[in-house]
Symmetry: D2
Subunit: 304 residues, 4 copies
Amino acid sequence: MNYIEVFSKIYYELEVSNDPGKVASYIPELRDVNPDKFGVHLTTIDDDHYEFGDSDEKFSIQSIAKVLALVLAYKLEGEKLWKRVGVEPSGTAFNSLVQLEYDLGIPRNPLINAGALVICDILVSKFENPKQEFIQFVRKVSDNPDIDYCSRIANSEKLAGYRNAALINLIKSFGNIKNDIDVVLDFYFNLCSIEMSCKELSRTFLFLAAYGVCPYTNEVIISVSKSKRVNAIMQLCGFYDEAGEFSFKVGLPGKSGVGGGIVAIHPNKYCIAVWSPRLNKKGNSNMGMKFLELFTTETQASIF
Amino acid sequence: MNYIEVFSKIYYELEVSNDPGKVASYIPELRDVNPDKFGVHLTTIDDDHYEFGDSDEKFSIQSIAKVLALVLAYKLEGEKLWKRVGVEPSGTAFNSLVQLEYDLGIPRNPLINAGALVICDILVSKFENPKQEFIQFVRKVSDNPDIDYCSRIANSEKLAGYRNAALINLIKSFGNIKNDIDVVLDFYFNLCSIEMSCKELSRTFLFLAAYGVCPYTNEVIISVSKSKRVNAIMQLCGFYDEAGEFSFKVGLPGKSGVGGGIVAIHPNKYCIAVWSPRLNKKGNSNMGMKFLELFTTETQASIF
Amino acid sequence: MNYIEVFSKIYYELEVSNDPGKVASYIPELRDVNPDKFGVHLTTIDDDHYEFGDSDEKFSIQSIAKVLALVLAYKLEGEKLWKRVGVEPSGTAFNSLVQLEYDLGIPRNPLINAGALVICDILVSKFENPKQEFIQFVRKVSDNPDIDYCSRIANSEKLAGYRNAALINLIKSFGNIKNDIDVVLDFYFNLCSIEMSCKELSRTFLFLAAYGVCPYTNEVIISVSKSKRVNAIMQLCGFYDEAGEFSFKVGLPGKSGVGGGIVAIHPNKYCIAVWSPRLNKKGNSNMGMKFLELFTTETQASIF
Amino acid sequence: MNYIEVFSKIYYELEVSNDPGKVASYIPELRDVNPDKFGVHLTTIDDDHYEFGDSDEKFSIQSIAKVLALVLAYKLEGEKLWKRVGVEPSGTAFNSLVQLEYDLGIPRNPLINAGALVICDILVSKFENPKQEFIQFVRKVSDNPDIDYCSRIANSEKLAGYRNAALINLIKSFGNIKNDIDVVLDFYFNLCSIEMSCKELSRTFLFLAAYGVCPYTNEVIISVSKSKRVNAIMQLCGFYDEAGEFSFKVGLPGKSGVGGGIVAIHPNKYCIAVWSPRLNKKGNSNMGMKFLELFTTETQASIF
């Protein structure tokens, strides 16, 4: 299928510059992004490429990186990982803290902030130098030695990070954080600061469309079963309070970030990454979600 | 694939009679079921059949019927249905009432009790005689004129139904129930009283594996897009607090009932129904879930 | 002290007709009350009387009657009453349903709706004809045979009472309602429909300022200890989410109703009743609370 | 009245050594206290003294100190203090975090941890050296230059203080903490580390029974109105989830600490302090509460 024509057609329908959404504004590095940026990149498991717009421009992938941290922790820990974090959707954001209390410090899933903090704690326990080990893992998966943290963003996140500090202290009060809070938070804020372009994103996550095998190196990143389970978690928990909406309208497992990026997986077919910085009220890229909805409708292809 | 061998192999691994789960006991009709019953029936979209155990014995399908009520209401109302009920997973059961208050009487999704009550209210508004119209719809979908309500079970549900009465009164206090409470509750309790065998269940739900088309009559029950969306809702909301667990381990959209039944859909492939009356702590069939986990592992087939 | 001068002085400070509050509007009988009505009546334990404004006009005392139901149930049941209802303040209204779930159907205190419903259930269990027995008790306490229910108001309450129906069904699902729901609700809605003037109110509740003894008949209504405990419950739970505010500013135990009435007790001194129909956002009489704040400031008399 | 005889009589009824409660164990300094310790000291506003048992032995007053911090902040800030903290009881402990979210970072009252942290933040803003200024204030109020912090306890609290760190970070994320988190927490943990005997406690808090005037120096600590309001806050919020229970059974404003101390005020009469280290499930001194219940029953004296 000629995806580029589909991209182009949908893009002109969307009228991105009239998007009523708002760019994330809690740190200057996100606030100052040009809100009209728009990029798409689709990579098939046979390494065919389709791109459109600002698909080569790097942006802050933010929470999308949590999936990669999950993959690495799951690979290293196996199923005993699930003693420290659940696999259930989280319900409303409103309930995040009360649920943590109700569940005695076990976050509902690894893709909400609380869960990602526990994943970071696990990686901090595993490695002497977790930041370095993690970025090397990402570079390997993406077959790209240039992927890196952005220390300016990591620092800004730290200055605005009182809510994450509240979460990690609460989890630690239940004993589910083993390391020093400042070390784990530093790793977490670096994780969220990684920058990629749509092209890099879709290449990096392609192994989840290929049952865990990196298509560039044929290396097994994680097992078939684990790869499917990571996709299942994205399907149920990848969009905060809008996981249902995304599943309902797009019908693919995916993950969003407040930088305006979304990555979605069609197992055994492709990985697609979209970037549009304005967010809807739930914190997901407004046009990114609409684009993917029209895309799976147009191509009549979803997992359901 | 010879599914029957797979069924048999898994069944002997499970040791159903040692299942630590408990049969539902809030009404006599469920409490008195033989807990060792076990049946499976798989129907492919080409109408091949594979069955095992007590697959021809009728049981109370309970909440599984909510999917059929949703399908009928969605068919009749179209997308404006979603003004009255959401498509998001519900988080913990513990929060059900507080979420209804927080969301001003809009239930999180149509498969939790609160949402199914709103769906019932919609059908009561649509039909002069909703119970009769609904069962005729089910008979048509299942190509089976013998499917019926069980009035004994419906009456028992009514006598034990204070929690559902609390929910519907709360929703009505927000204006999201339009009809008389007793009429809607009567329809709801009848809906939950429908009895089917595994064979009937897997045949009835096969249209959701066939993109909305009834394979026996070639009639379009609902559109492709609506069929996919119903599957997406089952994926995210079909197992109460365990939707994540089921997605993670089984990897198919599905729906359970407290009678011990589970129906699951592999789009474009098959519909499978399992029955094992003992429930786990979340109210889902304990062996039914385990069976399906081993089945999708063994056959290496899930949507992820 | 010449209380009447104090009443008059405060009344002119208040500018009742500029009150930004709103009259309760969920039933016509409350909505149609003249919002500028204002009355006060203070009765000392020596039976001195001080009145001002519309102090002889009857209005709907609503939730104030819950204190009288509590007194009668406490008198009959003694301390075992507290197995079925707590004595703790309820926190935010927002949490009312979740708290009932968390506390397994035991309402936090007898003055919130949930608790008053349990008190009504207890009285329904005690009497053949609870409505008649209760009104006779109120007539005895008030030394006034004319006090009565208003059936028009009770009927209107019933038609608007979905939230109370939700509460009582939820409590019944936990087993803490023993009688038929419709019978208990009928008693409850009648209880809330009682009409009194400020004069009648302050005379009726005077026994709580007199350590449980009815000053007109010298009959012991309840023991000293029980009388003090009822005052303590009013102090902590008498004003919904504003119990703290009332304690802080007025410093007396009291109880409000959505009809705009407030009754407050100065133990061993007096009982005062105020009526001003406009309510603040928490559902308490706006000018009634302000009047009592200025009154205890002016007379330098509170229990603290 | 000869209070000492009453003390003695009640003490022998209580059988302190059979108390099923548990000494606080989250820090070694509290865990290692002799659980059979028991002391009482009552000081009347005329400076009569009645003591019993270990009334001269110092213990950690813990949260009781929050009242003194409130008094100092209220004195300095006046009524604008209430823009940053409420005066309502908090309902269940379970809800503490969700309420803070619901109320956008405004704690329900100044005696729960969240509220005391805001009070500490206010004092940190007011003083160059808040720890020194505060202890001087306490020494002045108590007319006792020996009152001091215990740095060993403060350090232990800090090491176990993840939950308080979670609270203060959450409040800061809403903008209701103005200073550096570590500075405020250091002040808070020191505040909780103050040590006093029952004798010192009852002398220190006597000004709240004397309408704000220090009986030893005749200095006005706070105004009559503020003193009454602090008592009202203690009445509604002084015992966590058991404020209602304490009001109901004891009928005096008071405050407890996890060190096993309780101070209670009878306005215009006396201040009484009790110490018994074993706590009930709500975190209040088990025998301390029972002792005060029997004491106000025996002396027939409560504010209600």
